[in-house]
Each structure stands twice: as structure tokens, then as C-alpha cells.
Symmetry: C2
Subunit: 136 residues, 2 copies
DNA sequence: CTGGATCCCAATAGATACTG
DNA sequence: CAGTATCTATTGGGATCCAG
């Protein structure tokens, strides 16, 4: 089944967030979908961190249930499934951007190019709009 | 032991973030510490969501190891322990703010007062500075 | 072939009781 | 007050299998 988060988030936005992606994989799947524009099961399955297919399936189901992704059939190929981010997921881009800035500051190994970081910092709203654009 | 995240984050800021607080409890502990200014084990133990004491202990250990918290002894009471956020944790406030805005938009149950949200949206930097102030 | 489901074992989570 | 110890329940994850 889809993972159960017994935490009751009523009233708390942070708990709501923790419930939505407070696990090791959901945030990474979101990264693949939002930032790398991945759409298909097998593309997601091949992410660098190596997710197991059963876990991916269960997370995708959970993300569908929580309204972060929608599953459709590929118009170009009836046998293919497409996962796309909902508005709710796209609205996480600002938080993702802050996480990128945070990690880039505190992790010596993050390889985000300095000029990209500078551009983001100079105009966050524009950077977010550019990230969203492919989905509009 | 402290939770193991086998995900290798080298080079990816989002994976780094997922490694730091990609679990159900770490983000909630961060909320208690950063937003509600909690300092002691028993205060954290009594959070609304009901964390078990062994889990809390293990998460605190992990957060210390990942440089989000520091543990000191209370100068006013040698037997008391104080957990405080590091700079690294405080630097997560911008992301937290975005999560609060996100959740408030997408969760009908979040009870953040509308005027507070409006203030945050009007001037994020100022809101973040105000949240940080007690720790400086 | 793509998108999963199943099985099975290892690892983690969690409740509760206990302790320095 | 700030944790451990213990024991059980859940979940994670690799390998493999199956359906469209």
C-alpha cells in the first residue's frame, strides 16, 4: 500500500509538508519530475540513487493520492504511462529553490554551477518561472 | 543508531536535503526547534504528533551528526541539556517559509492566520529575520 | 518492451518499560 | 530530565515474475 504517515497534520503546515514528502524518496522523485522533466516509470527507475521498482510504484501511487502527480496515458503511445506534476507539485518549486541554495551553501560536494546560483539569488521569481515554463 | 540514508547525494543539492531531513520526524523536530523555540528533550517529546522517546533520541543524534543541532549543557542547570539550531539549521528558515506558504495554499486544514501569511508574502526576508532573531 | 506486482529477508520504526 | 533496553510490527529493498 501507499506509505502511511500517522502524523496528524491538522493545522500545521510543516506537518502537512512532512506528510507529503517526509520520506527518503518522494523528494527525489519530485526532483526528477520537476527539475529533470522525467515522465515515465523507467526513467524514474533509473535515477542515480537507485530506487527499487516496488518502492517507486508505491511512491508514485502515494503521490497520486496526495495530489502531487497525475497519471495519464501517453497520447503518442497508448501503452505508455505519463506522470506529470500537478499545480500542487509545481507550487513546490520555490521551496525546492531554497533547498538548492541551502544545500549549495552547506554541502561542499554539491555541483551546482556558481553562475546558476547567482542567477537564482538575483531573481528567484524569474528562476522559478523558467523552471515552470515547460509545464505550462 | 542514527538513521542511515544510503542515497548518495554527491553533487545533488536536493538529495543532500533529502538525506538531512528526508524522514517523517526530522522536519517536525526542526519545526519545534526553529519555530517554537524548544530546547529540551522533554519539550520535544511532547510535540503534538507524539514521537517515541527512542526515536527522538535517535533523530537528535542524527541531527547533531549532520550539523543541524548542537547539544550543550544548560548553564543554569548542569543536569539539563539544551539543543540549539546551528547556522545550517537556521539557514533552512527560507525553505520552511516556502513550505508554510505552500501548505497554506494546498491544505484546507492549515490554521495559519491569513494576516500572518500576508505579512510573510509581503516581505519574506523580514519575516525570516524575525524568526531568526531569537537565536542571534 | 513498459509498468508494475509478488516474495522474501533485512533493516527500521515504534510502543512501552526501565534507568542514571 | 534525558535518555536506553527490549521486543514486535512495519517498511525497505533486491530479485523475480507477470500483464498489456
Amino acid at each position: 500500500m501507499t506509505p502511511k504517515y500517522k502524523v496528524d497534520h491538522t493545522g500545521c503546515p510543516i506537518a502537512f509538508a512532512a506528510e507529503a514528502f517526509g520520506d527518503k524518496w518522494t523528494l527525489l522523485i519530485l526532483r526528477e519530475v520537476l527539475l529533470f522533466k522525467k515522465k515515465h516509470f523507467d526513467e524514474l527507475l533509473s535515477m542515480r540513487e537507485g530506487i527499487a521498482s516496488n518502492i517507486l510504484a508505491s511512491r508514485l501511487k502515494g503521490m497520486e493520492a496526495s495530489g502531487l502527480l497525475v497519471k495519464q496515458e501517453d497520447p503518442a503511445n497508448g501503452r505508455r504511462v505519463i506522470y506529470s506534476p500537478t499545480e500542487k507539485a509545481l507550487d513546490l518549486l520555490p521551496a525546492c529553490v531554497e533547498l538548492i541554495l541551502w544545500a549549495s551553501k552547506h554541502d561542499p560536494e554539491t555541483g551546482v554551477p556558481a553562475d546558476m546560483l547567482a542567477r537564482i539569488r538575483r531573481n528567484r521569481a524569474k528562476a522559478i518561472r523558467e523552471m515552470r515554463a515547460p509545464f505550462d
